[in-house]
Subunit: 212 residues, 2 copies
DNA sequence: CCATGCAGTTAACAACTGTTCTCCGTAATT
DNA sequence: AATTACGGAGAACAGTTGTTAACTGCATGG
């Protein structure tokens, strides 16, 4: 398939990525609905009109950012939920994985948390769709677990949504810990880990007694 | 105490409220970080400079909106959680109350959901503080319940946060149902109610088996 | 009843925004 | 080798923004 694309399209994708990166940086201190097209091109060092070669509007760029932030996350989700082992181990592993992801891509996490309920409709929809896909995938993995024997499809999906929302809340808390002063960072991270662990533990308990 | 304030201060508070109302309306289709001061005054029908008599900036106005949206909600929270009765009844009553609140104050709910992770730091902090107060109050009520016998303070607080976050998620889902086309409204509302009910039921199950 | 205080107005400022049109250089195609 | 396609630059547009200053009218307190 992917035959080496010409030096022309290569350059195009390069500046396109530069626009995305610059936008993501600028969005650390504002929302997408206030992000100006000129602001982005200025940060990249390119003429304002060049923007139109890549995106129709900043809202369009936002949708592309959603794809970049969440699109590549699906395989990770599947393997995380499906990992075998003690349920306590699985909880620890999932939270560790969230923490690492927030550490590696803080701007992406902030963007999703911010724009999930943000002021730009197409972006909200894109995020909602991606999260719905996550929930579906988590549901599929949950269905394989023997614990889920006798569960309704609806109930599996409601639990999956609970897990996905919980994942996002935890990621957002890790992010706040990262943003705070460096001295408190370690302690706050530990605290978030502890609380999130117990919340997942409690949800897991409810899950085991669902069919009583 | 509240001696009838003069016709002067009355007028001031009147336009102040008009500014808040207009801002809340404009924020249905954008985020606070893109809300312009002139935009607000124009909507009210007042000179741009009049804005400064009431707020230092739109961020300042945002903090005032947080107070308006969440400040008066504390008594409701306490009575909701503490209501006696079957745990199933309490769940139904809590969700019914959330649905009614979203119905009555959709713009407030949207504002809080949007700006909780929004681009304006002082507003984020104000919301975080109010939600932390909610969690504390929920914790205090949970502590009175016989089911909480033997629970750590930390564990009560982690459960309280779980409830508060869940409340916000549910409110946001109700809001989305309201915003959709009118034909689907009833069905979507019913669906949200059903899912939220089961999620609270599952969390309640986990709560009862926490000390196993 | 008069002097003070203050909510709101008017006018002006430099700076910024999104968008259009025209142009340039060069990679890609023939 | 000649032609086309296209990413990007440049200049100009009308409109908007936050903020300042000096003002006006009127409710308030002496």
């Amino acid at each position: 398939m992917s035959h080496t694309l010409g030096i022309r399209q290569a350059q195009k994708q390069k500046t396109r990525q530069a626009l995305l990166d610059a936008a993501l940086g600028l969005l650390e201190e504002q929302s997408l609905s206030s992000l100006g097209l000129r602001e982005v091109t200025r940060a990249v060092g390119v003429a304002p009109t060049a923007f139109y070669r890549h995106f129709r509007s900043t809202a369009d760029l936002g949708v592309a950012l959603v794809e970049e932030a969440l699109g590549s996350l699906h395989p990770m989700i599947r393997t995380t939920v499906s990992t075998t082992g003690d349920s306590e181990e699985r909880i620890a592993r999932a939270i560790e994985l969230i923490a690492r992801h927030v550490d590696g891509y803080p701007a992406h996490v902030r963007f999703i948390a911010r724009e999930r309920h943000g002021g730009v409709q197409p972006v909200r929809e894109a995020i909602r769709d991606q999260l719905a896909r996550f929930a579906q995938e988590v549901k599929d993995e949950l269905a394989k677990d023997p614990v889920s024997a006798g569960w309704t499809e609806d109930d599996l999906l409601m639990l999956a949504h609970l897990y996905v929302d919980q994942m996002l809340i935890t990621a957002s808390l890790f992010l706040e810990a990262l943003e705070g002063p460096e001295r408190e960072r370690e302690e706050r991270t530990r605290h978030v880990t502890q609380v999130a662990t117990r919340q997942l533990r409690l949800i897991g308990l409810g899950r085991h007694h669902w069919l009583d």
